[in-house]
């Protein structure tokens, strides 16, 4: 069948009819279209090698290879559409799924991902990322925030304060993302808001990735004395983690207002409290 499409007054998201993966985002207010795909990948955690015995662990992120493995090249999808929400449910594997969601009036695409328990029977520790790939000419630059306030420009394989001899092409380009990461070609900006701090990077022009989960088999010899194995609700089952990435597509001029206001709505989201009616007792303190 044709491409899956979900949209509201402001945004349209198009999914590849063959793979079920995100294919394009369109900002209908600004007439902006960005072909962008998104999927999940995993890095094989290093257990140390001849160049360096350093393993990936609680303190250290060190993938064994620079190229992550895709979880899958296509997903099972399920479309939910009604007046109050449009969603595409994507099933990547038994331990990875995602709901791409649009509510009326919303100016961002909500990606609610659920990852885990990460399988380790193959003997590989895994570091799971969500990666967005586009054609934006970003010239080796990307931007991450520091505690939601200051935005810092990052340049691949470069440090502003010393001559970097890059020995870790992946980990050496990962930075802390407190609440947002974005890439831009100077006109168009693709921003991803996170609902918790994550590691993130842009390892190729037009690409942006965030690490959502890790499950490792070795200690990194930095003092913890334990692998980051995170047994879930029972020895060895592994944690299931659920979170959300909010994706905004804007011009460079309008992007800051968009992500700053949305990030504030997320950080100070309304508190929902329920009550069983009929138990009301008039109450006027003092």
């Amino acid at each position: 069948s044709g491409p899956l499409v979900i949209q509201n007054e402001h945004l349209r998201a198009i999914f590849d009819p063959n793979t079920g993966l995100l294919q394009e985002i369109e900002n209908l207010d600004l007439g902006l279209r960005l072909p962008v795909s998104q999927s999940f990948y995993w890095y094989n955690a290093s257990t140390g090698d001849i160049t360096h015995p350093q393993a990936s662990g609680a303190y250290i992120f060190r993938p064994d290879k620079t190229k992550p493995f895709p979880l899958r090249h296509w997903v099972n999808t399920r479309l939910v559409k009604n007046a109050l929400v449009q969603e595409v449910h994507q099933n990547f594997s038994a331990w990875c799924s995602q709901v791409v969601r649009l509510y009326p009036g919303q100016r961002h695409l909500e990606l609610e991902w659920t990852v885990g328990p990460v399988p380790i029977r193959d003997g590989f520790g895994k570091e799971i990322i969500s990666r967005f790939d586009s054609q934006l000419k970003t010239n080796g630059r990307f931007y991450t925030d520091s505690n939601g306030r200051e935005i810092l420009e990052r340049r691949r394989d470069y440090r502003p304060t010393w001559d970097l001899n890059q020995t870790e092409p992946v980990a050496g380009n990962y930075y802390p993302v407190s609440s947002r990461i974005y890439i831009t070609d100077g006109q168009v900006q693709l921003t991803v808001l996170t609902d918790r701090s994550q590691g993130g990077s842009s390892l190729r022009d037009g690409s942006l990735e965030l690490m959502v989960h890790r499950r490792l088999l070795m200690d990194d010899n930095r003092g913890v004395g334990e692998a980051l194995l995170e047994p879930g609700d029972g020895p060895g089952t592994g944690l299931v983690v659920r979170g959300r990435h909010l994706v905004l597509l804007d011009t460079v001029e309008t992007a800051a207002a968009g992500h700053r206001l949305q990030a504030q709505r997320e950080a100070l989201a309304p508190q929902l409290v329920l009550a069983s009616p009929g138990q009301d007792v008039p109450y006027s303190p003092g």
């Binding site: 559409k81 009604n82 929400v85 309304p270 329920l274 009550a275 009616p277 009301d280 007792v281 006027s284």
Partner: protein, 172 residues
């Protein structure tokens, strides 16, 4: 009597880099979570007292801390409940409320008694074939204030809405 002191203490302990970045043994990480959960527990009493005082009526307030995995015993079993939305921002917000429920049709009324459009969609439960209904409705709350929505289950047998399932992707 609620108090935020315990949460403040737990947050203070969690300033250690081990809590911020997860560089601790598992049992230490579990203890950070335990302290934060205990702190939040006491804050729920504080928030309930504040809502009772602001709303001039004591209610049996219920906090559902597992809405992110669609678990909320009250909304999943009650025929009638209230949803109170407190807005900490200094401007009015609109928000889509999602609640796991136990039936396929509900009537939602806003603070002025007007009906609010609502839908019930079925959400696939992780790792199992069965799914469960989730109520969705748009809500708004005033700056630094709250709104109370009233939710009533309708005795309608068949699901009001079944999602259209796209044909399964090519299995090749």
């Amino acid at each position: 009597q609620g108090s935020s002191a315990r949460l403040r203490q737990a947050m203070a302990v969690a300033q250690h880099h081990d809590a911020v970045s997860g560089t601790s043994k598992q049992h230490v990480a579990n203890d950070y979570a335990r302290q934060l959960a205990a702190g939040w527990e006491e804050c729920q009493v504080l928030v309930s007292n504040a809502l009772a005082s602001l709303g001039s009526s004591k209610k049996d307030f219920v906090f559902c801390n597992q809405l992110n995995i669609s678990v909320c015993p009250l909304s999943q079993t009650a025929n009638h409940f209230q949803a109170i939305l407190y807005n900490p921002l200094a401007w009015t917000i609109t928000w889509t409320v999602r609640l796991p429920v136990g039936a396929w049709a509900y009537n939602v009324r806003d603070p002025s008694g007007q009906s609010v459009p609502s839908e019930v969609i079925d959400i696939p439960a992780k790792g199992s074939e069965n799914s469960h209904p989730e109520l969705i409705f748009p809500a708004s709350a005033p700056p630094l204030g709250f709104s109370i929505y009233s939710v009533t289950r309708l005795s309608v047998r068949t699901p009001q809405f079944r999602d259209c399932c796209s044909p399964p992707m090519a299995q090749s």
